[in-house]
Amino acid sequence: MNFITAFHAEALPLIEKFQLSKRTEASPFPVFSNDRHNVVISGMGRAQASLATQYLFTEVINIPEPIINLGIAGHGELAIGTPFIANRVLHLDEKAVYYPPPVLKLDIANSGLQTCDIPETKYSHPIGYDMEAHGFCSAAYRSITREFVQSIKFVSDNPTSPLVSFSPNLASKIIGTHIELIEEIANQLKNIFQELQLDPKIYKMIKELKSTYHFTFTQDYQLEKLLRHAYSLGMHPNDVTHILNQSSTGKIFLSVLSQKLEALRTLP
């Protein structure tokens, strides 16, 4: 899973839980990773959040993957320490309002979230107030479908306990308390994402075939389509391998596979 946080203190519970290491290569943002998770620390503000999100999608991961903006926020109504999912992300100077689709099955609060350029102290509405989510969404939506872009916030201040100054210890403590929830959210998003992917065996086979034969651009397209169809139509992978072993060229392979699939194309 991929996370964007504004501060190191917000990332710390993730770094500890997932045993992430700081990447050593030169980077405009601190990045902590292991083989399954990445955390990019953006710094404060929506412009930073936007840049860090772009950086993650272009430099840290190779293919679009789900991403979560995690951090503390003020809230006009919710109690200190309460986690919430943003269902409406707005910034008063921006026309675009974002509505992260409700795909997570969790028994936690949902709330609107207003991204502000300076810390909010009036809490005029019963919604959350942060400084990053709008920039995060605007950048992430350019790279991955909206279902896989979520903002999870933890209330650090509210009208009865207004923000005085940023307390790193408090941020780490509040987020750390909910680390299992964060893991659950990450797992849910990952599972939904994986359900949409084609069986990885097909990609493996495509890769193998491409390394065995030369395919033109058109044949490349045909290869992917035919292998996808072979999978959809229930052709056994051994049958595909058998055709492959009998074919002396990529062109012959495509032609024989296409013929064999014809017999399977009627819906059972």
Partner: protein, 333 residues
């Protein structure tokens, strides 16, 4: 059933909005300026949203009644469709809505009266010709009736406008409203079918063929006119046997005198819709069928399509006169 309700601020106090808020008191309510902020953006995943669609309540201020392509219709000369709701309770893999809309959320336009005003205007333009209005193009006309109450409002309207004809198209068995009411001669309820085996594999959530026939039988007894829609016709193993069995079962259960019309339509999708749907469901066998691009649509190969239509036509003509049989041809043909 509904966990999230988005609502346009302008309909927040509308009686139908308030009723739906009451109906789903635990649902998260999210205000918006315009439904398009939620429904229209690209980069949404229809398949993911379809697992738990939200409800969007809005006012449709655009054109509400649209002409139907000339190659469609069930005998009328003036044909229109309207959509008080976009998207459907069911999840049929062939459904064009998956390719057409970026979002799978149920979008309900609560200003029903505006629809009826436009229907009135359309009728008044050619008062001597029967005008047909089709309500089930972009949603199932009855499946979410308990939530929308639209059909109830529509029946009252059409009761007062006997020259306007309404088709309610459905795959649901939510026909209690009709069962309780005296039949209206200008309203037909059309049920869509594919053989049960096909329905089991690609029509998720749709009631069984026998359950639908059971409610049709009740409606026929009450005197309602019924329609049968074999659209889209899906090519499959044992095609003739399965469709013969379906058609026989329909006509065994439903008296031919109750049947207003039967329509046949081939499986066809505009190419961009097909491509989007194939991308959403890359492992779906339906999309790996013997299909070809014809005009701007993706359909079964012409020979297969013609043969399948002819088979159904012959089977149907054993049970009903030719003047009750209609064909929905793709516009490109």
């Amino acid at each position: 059933m509904i966990d999230t309700i988005y609502f346009e601020e302008q309909v927040e106090e509308h009686s139908r909005t308030l009723r739906l808020f009451q109906r789903f008191p635990k649902a998260t309510r999210v205000p918006c300026s315009h439904y398009k902020e939620i429904f229209n953006p690209s980069g949404q995943n229809f398949r993911v949203q379809k697992k738990q669609p939200a409800l969007i309540l809005a006012k449709n201020s655009g054109k509400l009644v649209h002409p139907v392509p000339a190659t469609y219709g069930i005998g009328g000369t003036q044909n229109f469709y309207f959509s008080h709701m976009l998207n459907c309770l069911y999840d049929c893999r062939y459904c064009f809505l998956q390719g057409m809309y970026p979002s799978a959320h149920y979008l309900l336009f609560v200003n029903y009266e505006d629809f009826f005003e436009e229907i009135k205007k359309a009728v008044s333009q050619k008062p001597n010709e029967p005008c047909w209005f089709f309500s089930g193009y972009d949603c199932d006309s009855l499946a979410l009736e308990s939530l929308t109450g639209f059909a109830k409002s529509a029946l009252s309207f059409f009761e007062d406008h006997p020259h306007a004809f309404l088709e309610l198209r459905t795959k649901s068995v939510a026909t209690q409203l009709l069962e309780k009411k005296l039949p209206l001669p200008n309203v037909i309820t059309a049920f869509s079918f594919t053989p049960q085996e096909i329905s089991d594999s690609i029509e998720n959530g749709v009631p069984s063929v026998s359950a639908r026939l059971s409610v049709m039988k009740k409606l026929a007894k009450k005197g309602w006119s019924l329609g049968i829609r074999l659209d889209p016709i899906i090519d499959c193993t044992d095609f003739e046997k399965r469709y013969e069995s379906l058609i026989t079962e329909i006509f065994q259960e439903i008296p031919a005198s109750s049947i207003h019309s039967v329509s046949l339509g081939p499986f066809r999708l505009p190419e961009p819709f097909f491509k989007k749907m194939e991308k959403l469901y890359p492992a779906e066998a339906l999309f790996a069928g013997s299909l070809e691009k014809r005009g701007r649509s993706i359909s079964y190969r012409k020979a297969v399509e013609s043969q399948r239509i002819e088979t159904c036509q012959n089977l149907l003509l054993q049970h009903l006169p030719p003047n009750k049989l209609f064909f929905c041809q793709p516009v490109e043909d």
